[in-house]
Subunit: 313 residues, 2 copies
């Protein structure tokens, strides 16, 4: 188990055993400093099985339809060797994933890190089927701000990856701790250097994950993953941002805030109505009054709000 | 005592009894939402007495010298009725206040709210002598950013006010909870309206304080205080900002970061060397590697770094 002292070691990622300790101040500080945090054991075996089954069904549908709708393939779907690697808007596509988006422990962690006005932005499943997937080059995530380190170096825009399969060292995300505070020049030079060869992990640490674990990364943290063939690895990604940042700085329009708050509230409600989760205390979503953009809006009839329709930049 | 539910009530300020519960997740969320938090009982009686004595001596010196150096007066010091109301750079002027700036409980609270790269910026004593002080008009504090609500609406730039005297309702700071998320137009209109009469507290709540308590306010939170005569009220103010924000957005130069980190480290060391605090675990200042601007710098021989010499804007 991690001691407080261990959390300051830079050559591995800090860990939180969420059902044993909850999210402690030292976990919060470690995440803010390193830009990455492993949270062990978020999902119960039952919920994990349900979300695995939903993930399997979505990937099967991609294979059988060969559709590019909301789906990224390694090559054009009808080319030999093509494989699907990413499906967008999965909260709208599978009820167990919508209920996962209402997970109270997950949302309480995000409230501590993003703040009370958290809104969900991207939701997707990123996966490697046994048909394989290429290297994920070293990068920062999309949707960056001017002066990004000042705005969110400490980590208020966060990708939460929930693992459905094991991710061992040879098939996991690697991160460079504290790169979330690097300026553009250092970041670009390092990424270029690492991406010059097929797979270089200089200065990086592996995020070795088990099914049901949660990996949090600051979108500014430099990360990548090796190419792999013959192994399945599926991750549900939810990105969160503070509504006040979205409101003043984008990247989506102000209208998007209210719609995604409605999505979040629907997911929380859907989960609260499900007998399987009857023992849980639902997450109590309480943003500041002036940022409750769902008030007086018509009901939504979808959980899918396409980024490009609400893009401000 | 506050329950979790109470912390969501907007018509009073959330409170943390720091030596009983520590800073809980619900206190963090309440501060981020409301932009203000009362922390009870930060100082022991002995430390409070030492800092009170230091404050008394600084005010006595202002009266006897009538100097304007680092000192704000209600009128020119030689005019009838003039009274001192503020002294800057108090960490450099009194050893008990320097040791107070190294207070481990205070700094752990600030690390949770500002992040691991916190640096101290302003330090001052603001006070009302029995000679009186005028109304503090409704305002946001200085040193704001473009898109200030996006950058720090949730509260990463924080004023920590340590009270040396009681502040009852008729002689305390009043705040408007959640105004830290207001845009400029709403903020200006509300401040203008409230400042149009001598003292209007519409929508505001009082921060009633006892000696040794700590009041945290987000610099964006609209606040003010009534005029008062015949009562002494002294507050030590320390402002904190994240080094990564200062580095990319100012208001001080990059050089200032390292100097103020040296000041902070000196204060922590000074306190650690003091037998009176021998039972404390000193604050362990661990910013990210790339933000350790004190490394390889010459020793400092002052704790006073004047803002105007390091101003970027």
């Amino acid at each position: 188990m991690s001691s407080v002292g261990d959390l300051r070691v830079v050559n591995r990622i800090a860990e939180c055993d969420i059902r044993r300790t909850g999210l402690l101040p030292e976990h919060v500080t470690a995440f803010r400093r390193q830009g990455v945090l492993v949270v062990r054991g978020l999902l119960t075996p039952q919920e994990l099985a349900d979300v695995q089954e939903a993930g399997r069904a979505l990937i099967d549908r991609a294979w059988s339809t060969r559709s590019m709708e909301d789906t990224v393939w390694t090559l054009e779907p009808d080319q030999p060797g093509a494989a699907p690697v990413r499906i967008e808007y999965v909260v709208d596509k599978a009820r167990p994933i919508a209920m996962l988006a209402g997970h109270p422990l997950l949302l309480r962690i995000m409230e501590q890190l993003v703040g009370p006005n958290l809104i969900p932005t991207w939701d997707s499943m990123v996966f490697k089927t046994p048909a394989g997937a290429p290297r994920l080059a070293w990068h920062r995530d999309a949707g960056l701000y001017d002066n990004a380190v000042g705005v969110t170096g400490a980590g208020r825009v966060i990708d939460a990856g929930i693992y459905l399969d094991p991710a061992p060292e040879d098939n996991c995300v690697w991160c460079i701790p504290e790169s979330n505070y690097w300026g553009d020049d250092r970041l670009t030079a390092t990424a270029d250097q690492l991406n010059a060869s097929e797979w270089d992990t200089t200065g990086a640490v592996p995020a070795v994950m088990q099914p049901g674990d949660l990996l949090l990364h600051n979108i500014l943290t430099l990360h990548g993953a090796p190419a792999v063939v013959g192994k399945q690895r599926r991750v549900i990604y939810f990105e969160y941002r503070p509504a006040e940042v979205e409101w003043q700085l984008g990247p989506h329009s102000a209208e998007y805030i209210g719609l995604k708050q409605q999505v979040l509230r629907s997911c929380i409600q859907m989960r609260a109505n499900e007998p399987q989760f009857g023992d849980e205390e639902p997450f109590d979503y309480q943003p500041a009054e002036s940022l409750r953009h769902w008030v007086d809006r018509p009901e939504i009839d979808t959980l899918r709000f396409a980024h490009e329709e609400y893009w401000r930049w």
